[in-house]
């Protein structure tokens, strides 16, 4: 468990001086941030800028989870990685870059696939979860594990020139399943490999996601509880949408939940937990 800071060191005061003087944050908010741990699920286009700004801001501990290795085609948007870390696990490559920026942040790289077998145990060790994943089964898995473990989930996504952001399972608000009780038909799902993505669009969304994590971590609350932010990069347009409340009949967060342990998400979604091949070949 994270040690509990009650004050800031002289180095901390120097490093964070420009944000310490914000009335919205102050020393109290900065100390709070330093005592918070965040699990970043996916060190790709969203996870890189998110982890970068959380570390810069002095988050206490950062879990960096990704099963994949760095490829050249990642570098147009996955800005923590570099040409020389090609072939290395993304979780390690990201952790190295983070520690250059802020060595006082505890970085825990997990080079593994999040699964029904490890998700709860991992998520229980963190205060806030950031969903930076790139596929439907992982989004349901992260959601269910956050509900079962009682953790707020700050979720962003990006494709082509668009992005979306919501905070789930936070202060009585809805979870991902409240909005999407059934997964989309696999043939309707486009991932970044198929549909493409302009690199700076997940950059924008990952930064916005980091801001909400920091607001939650410092006790300010989030602007996106029961709200969805939509961004259209082609039109330069943001729109904020009021979402439904927590659903009484939700199978995982409702009044009589029927889903009390994690399930097989690839089977549930009919697709693999990766953005590389779209259809799961169901024999």
């Amino acid at each position: 468990p994270l040690k509990s800071n009650v004050t800031l060191s002289n180095d901390d005061i120097m490093r964070y001086s420009r944000q310490l003087i914000l009335p919205e944050l102050g020393v109290k908010g900065q100390v709070a941030i330093s005592n918070v741990s965040v699990l970043v699920v996916g060190c790709g286009g969203l996870g890189c800028p998110l982890a970068q700004y959380l570390a810069a801001a002095g988050i206490g501990r950062l879990g960096l989870l990704d099963y994949d290795v760095v490829e050249l085609s990642n570098l147009h948007r996955q800005v923590l990685h570099s040409e020389v870390t090609q072939g290395q696990p993304k979780a390690l490559s990201a952790a190295q870059a983070i520690s250059r920026l802020n060595s006082t942040v505890q970085c825990v790289p997990y080079h593994l696939q999040l699964s029904r077998d490890n998700a709860i145990q991992l998520i229980q060790q963190y205060d806030i979860v950031a969903d930076c994943s790139d596929n439907v089964p992982t989004r349901y898995l992260v959601n269910d594990a956050c509900v079962l473990a009682g953790k707020p989930l700050v979720s962003a996504s990006a494709l082509r020139m668009e992005g979306q952001l919501t905070v789930y399972n936070y202060r009585g608000g809805p979870c991902y399943r409240c909005l999407f009780p059934s997964p989309p038909p696999p043939e309707t799902v486009t991932n970044c490999s198929d549909g493409g993505v302009l690199g700076v669009v997940p950059g924008i969304m990952g930064c916005l996601q980091a801001l909400e994590v920091l607001k939650i971590a410092s006790g300010q609350g989030s602007s996106f509880e029961q709200q969805l932010l939509m961004f259209d990069g082609q039109e330069g347009r943001f729109r904020s949408i009021r979402l439904r409340a927590r659903q009484i009949e939700c199978v995982v967060c409702g009044e009589k939940p029927t889903l009390t342990e994690l399930q097989d998400y690839e089977q549930f979604c009919g697709s693999a937990a990766t953005d590389k091949c779209r259809r799961l070949n169901l024999l």
Partner: protein, 101 residues
């Protein structure tokens, strides 16, 4: 007999690709004896706007899973979903949820 109804329809998150890539549509629904509701609007879209593969947009008489419907910037769940009675100049958005990162 209700008067014709002008609506602003928007498609996003990729749903626009089923509508010739056009995100913004102004449509006029013909006058009819009862007020238009969302269920009828969806049937009208299916009959008049969806060129091919309607199953990528609809499932039965509602939208397929993974499409969020917004009426005047609010989740349609807050507005009565299929039973919502449309008003002249309503703004209805169909947004495909994104999963990439």
């Amino acid at each position: 007999m209700a008067a014709p109804l002008g609506l602003h329809l928007e498609f996003g998150g990729g749903a626009e690709l089923l509508f010739d890539g056009v995100k913004n549509h102004h449509v006029v629904l013909p006058g009819q004896s009862d007020p238009w509701n969302m269920k009828q609007l969806l049937a009208w879209i299916r009959g008049n706007m969806l060129k091919e593969r309607p199953e990528l947009f609809m499932q039965g008489d509602t939208v397929r899973p993974g499409i969020l419907v917004l009426i005047n910037d609010a989740d349609w769940e807050l507005m009565g979903e299929l039973e919502y009675q449309l008003q002249d100049q309503d703004n209805v958005v169909f947004i495909s949820t994104l999963h990439g990162g």
